[in-house]
């Protein structure tokens, strides 16, 4: 069921020819450049797929994007320039890691903020419990005290 939607989507989408992800003929001969290309590809979304990076995708559009990334890299662009170039063309939807711009700060701050909040509440609760433990235990009733004295005496 997990990848069901992906699967359904793939089934409904016009099936591209069964190419695999990165092909040998796409790869750059310079290993350093190729490694950078792979890194960049892993952060870019295949636009017609469901939650797949262009590095993993079999779709022909992903292949075009992979070639584009390599073209820009060979032309001497830096990593950020390549990403900016692709974002300018395809919109921020291609970024698998969302930027921190605009309202996205909410997304990025949500985790730490919730943690601080939850940890604070947890600590307050623990302090309360501890104070309860610091309090005097219930006093013995007079009857119990008398019985205790009796036992101790005996």
């Amino acid at each position: 069921m997990k990848r069901l939607l992906l699967v359904l989507f793939l089934a409904l989408a016009p099936v591209a020819s069964p190419v695999l992800a990165v092909q040998p003929d796409e790869m750059l001969s310079d290993p350093a450049l190729e490694a950078r290309a792979r890194d960049i590809s892993k952060g870019l979304r295949c636009l017609v797929c469901r939650n797949e990076s262009i590095d993993e995708s079999h779709a022909s559009l992903a292949r075009d994007l992979r070639l584009l990334v390599r073209e820009r890299l060979t032309a001497g662009d830096s990593d950020t320039e390549v990403v900016d170039f692709i974002v300018a063309r395809y919109g921020e939807y291609v970024l698998l890691q969302p930027t921190g711009q605009g309202a996205n700060w909410i997304l990025w701050a949500a985790g730490p903020a919730m943690f601080v909040l939850a940890a604070g509440m947890g600590l307050m609760f623990l302090r309360g419990r501890q104070r309860a433990s610091g309090g005097e235990p219930d006093r013995l009733s007079a009857e119990e005290q008398a019985r205790l004295d009796d036992i101790l005496k005996g």
């Binding site: 069921m1 997990k2 990848r3 069901l4 939607l5 992906l6 699967v7 359904l8 989507f9 793939l10 089934a11 099936v15 069964p18 190419v19 695999l20 992800a21 990165v22 092909q23 040998p24 003929d25 790869m27 952060g43 979304r45 469901r50 939650n51 797949e52 990076s53 993993e56 079999h58 919109g91 921020e92 939807y93 291609v94 970024l95 698998l96 890691q97 969302p98 605009g102 309202a103 996205n104 997304l107 990025w108 949500a110 985790g111 919730m114 943690f115 939850a118 940890a119 947890g122 609760f125 623990l126 302090r127 419990r129 501890q130 309860a132 433990s133």
Partner: protein, 658 residues
């Protein structure tokens, strides 16, 4: 005819569910034993009717009855029998029928095994459980009826999606649903307890086995799905942070938190109110997961807008059950008086920390999953939240969790000292650090991820061993060994499940950090080297499967000059569905997998081959299985079995009622 009977049974089950929702609830409020007693036979009847209905649908798939719309859409006469059966739940309508079947299964199980529950609590639990069933029966009957016929049946069906024709995936949904829906039991207990106004150690003891069972099923279900993705999707990924995966992961995290907080209620009668809230949230997130998967809202807002009927229905179910329970919680939680006092350094505090980490990490996954939707609706921005975000936002919580786990697990109840616990764990700590440093020294020029994860993972594993050893107390080696075998199964379960988490942490990071990849055009008969291995593509043949055509490569795998395996990577085309799939060939070994995929033939001769060396791959699922095994051990602990035994022989002893 059988189809009509199945349809009829489904409607009858809906009616029974309505009766079971109302009558016992009224009976419990008025203290009418006869009305309360309706719940038990009704729960059984409801389950039998639903099971019959489900069997009827399965029968239609098995016999390829193409007068049923659902069968036409999802089956084919040539499909292997296993997948005809699995096809029953490999689609929306069938899977919802499976969903409600499991709701009624748990209801029936509670009716049978709940003999030692106080009658009012039992009646309320079954009534609440039935109300969930009512909602989903209505959903099926009005929006997703699997029993619709076609006026003109075609000669053959459109086949099940080929990617789903796989044993791993055939059994993945039932497990996942047993987990998802199993949490409905915890929810029913929570709501019943709120109505009752009473939560005590006994309540926690009744709730815990159900939560544990649900959590075990979820663990196995998620592991199966992840394993399937690993070998089927063709590049050996095992977790994608896909919304549909997150949908199962969020309830898993909440269930894990609930398991731990229920221990505090059971042992110390503290955290009651929080545990009730967790039970509501855990099932709430199951419903959210169902909504995400079934409405298609995350895939595309537009798909949802075009066909909103089902999505809106589930959204209403979600709003009713979560909103209703939370309202009840707000109104009634003050009656849950907190007991149990403890210091800041104590087992209780450690479990609070566990709950904070698990709950917040689950909410982070939730925010990340929903954010694209929120951004599009509120800010008109179309964006993606992918694996890099989740890796960054989620992992820190797991690192902290792993770091405190061994200490927390060994802290005494009520009040402890960090120094003493850390002293007990000194060897585990030293060993973990030593292993981390060793890994750091042995790898050259790679990221620190692997060594740090090895340290963390082994810290958790050794910590659980130390915990287990400490439980045997003092004495000679033989005395302690004897005691080790007689330890309560809950202790063993705890150690095994925690060790499983450690193994998984280490495996996930190790695989990520140390994986090797090779992509090239391989010429027939020409060996080449990847890492420590030599591979030769010996031949490529075309073969015909039952309902597909395959291109099969024969690959010889050598290590140290010796042939260790022959692998047969496949590429299949399913003509009916017009869809290609890759079948990776994997040489599974204890420490690593060699993962081979064959691609397309090249114009200049040769075939595209991708080879991955994946260290520790099996450990990921091994760890998950250990977690499930730990849960199972804990589930069979004496205190749960004794309670069950008391039910079977009520006359045997004058046991106190609670």
């Amino acid at each position: 005819m059988i189809t009509e009977l199945g349809h009829f049974a489904l409607i009858l089950a809906f009616m029974v569910a309505i009766v079971q929702m109302v009558v016992p609830m009224v009976g419990a409020a008025k203290r009418w034993p006869g009305w309360m007693a309706v719940a038990e036979p009704a729960a059984l009847l409801q389950f039998i009717l639903t099971a019959f209905s489900f069997a009827a649908l399965t029968w239609a798939f098995v016999t390829s009855d193409f007068s049923l719309r659902l069968v036409v859409m999802n089956s084919h006469s040539l499909k292997p029998m296993l997948y005809k059966i699995a096809g029953t739940w490999g689609n929306h309508e069938g899977s919802m029928l499976l969903w409600v079947l499991i709701v009624t299964l748990f209801g029936a199980a509670a009716a049978v095994f709940g003999g030692n529950l106080p009658p009012t609590l039992k009646a309320r639990v079954l009534a609440v459980q039935s109300s969930i069933a009512v909602a989903f029966f209505a959903f099926i009957l009005w929006t997703s009826n699997p029993f619709l016929r076609l006026a003109v049946p075609p000669f053959d069906g459109q086949d099940l999606n080929p990617l789903l024709q796989d044993p791993g995936l055939a059994f993945h949904p039932p497990f996942l649903y047993l987990g998802y829906v199993g949490l409905s039991m915890a929810y029913s207990f929570a709501v019943a307890a709120l109505i009752e106004g009473r939560v005590d150690a006994a309540w926690a003891r009744w709730v815990r086995p159900w939560t544990l069972a649900a959590w075990i099923f979820l663990t196995v279900g998620i592991a199966l799905g992840s394993w399937w993705a690993y070998y089927e999707l063709g590049w050996g990924g095992f977790w994608f942070w896909d919304p549909v995966e997150n949908a199962s992961f969020m309830p898993w995290l909440f269930a894990a938190a609930l398991l731990h907080s229920a221990i505090v209620v059971e042992k110390r009668e503290a955290l009651k109110s929080w545990t009730i809230l967790l039970a509501i949230l855990a099932f709430g997130f199951s419903l959210i997961g169902t909504f995400i998967v079934r409405s298609g809202v995350i895939t595309s807002v537009h798909a949802f807008a075009n066909d909103p009927e089902r999505g809106i229905f589930i959204l209403m179910i979600l709003a009713f059950f979560t909103g209703g329970a939370l309202t009840l919680y707000a109104a009634r939680s003050h009656v849950l008086e907190a007991k149990g006092v403890f210091g800041v350094i104590s087992r209780e505090s450690a479990l609070v920390a566990n709950n904070v980490l698990l709950a917040v990490s689950s909410l982070v996954v939730f925010v990340g999953t929903m954010w694209p939707l929120v951004a599009e609706m509120a800010f008109d921005r179309k964006l993606s939240v992918g694996p890099p975000f989740f890796d960054m936002a989620f992992s820190p919580f797991m690192v902290v969790l792993g770091a405190i786990l061994p200490v927390g697990a060994m802290l005494p109840w009520k009040r402890g000292t960090l120094g003493r616990t850390l002293y007990a764990l000194r060897y585990a700590l030293v060993l973990a650090v030593a292993l981390g440093v060793l890994a750091w020294a042995m790898q050259t020029g790679r990221s620190g991820l692997g060594p740090v994860a090895l340290m963390l993972g082994s810290w958790v594993v050794f910590g659980s061993l130390v915990d287990l050893a400490a439980r045997t107390g003092r004495g000679t080696f033989n005395e302690r060994l004897g005691r080790l075998t007689r330890l309560p199964r809950a202790d063993w379960g705890k150690a095994v499940a925690h060790a499983g988490l450690g193994v998984t942490i280490f495996a996930v990071a190790g695989l990520t950090a140390w994986q090797q990849e090779d992509i090239r055009v391989a010429q027939l008969g020409e060996p080449y080297t990847v890492g420590d291995y030599r591979l030769t593509l010996e031949e490529v043949n075309r073969e015909q499967g039952p309902n597909y055509l395959a291109t099969v490569g024969t690959v010889d795998l050598q290590a140290k000059g010796r042939s260790i395996a022959t692998l047969y990577p496949e590429k299949r085309v399913y003509p009916v569905a017009n869809m290609p799939t890759t079948e990776a060939a994997i040489d599974y070994r204890f420490l690593r997998d060699v993962y081979v995929v064959i691609g397309d033939p090249q114009a200049g001769g040769g075939w595209v081959m991708r080879v991955y060396i994946k260290p520790l791959a099996n450990w990921i699922w091994g760890g998950a299985l250990l977690m499930a095994l730990g849960g199972l051990l804990s589930l069979t602990d004496r205190r749960f079995r004794v309670a069950a035994g008391a039910r079977r022989a009520p006359a045997a002893a004058g046991l106190p009622a609670e």
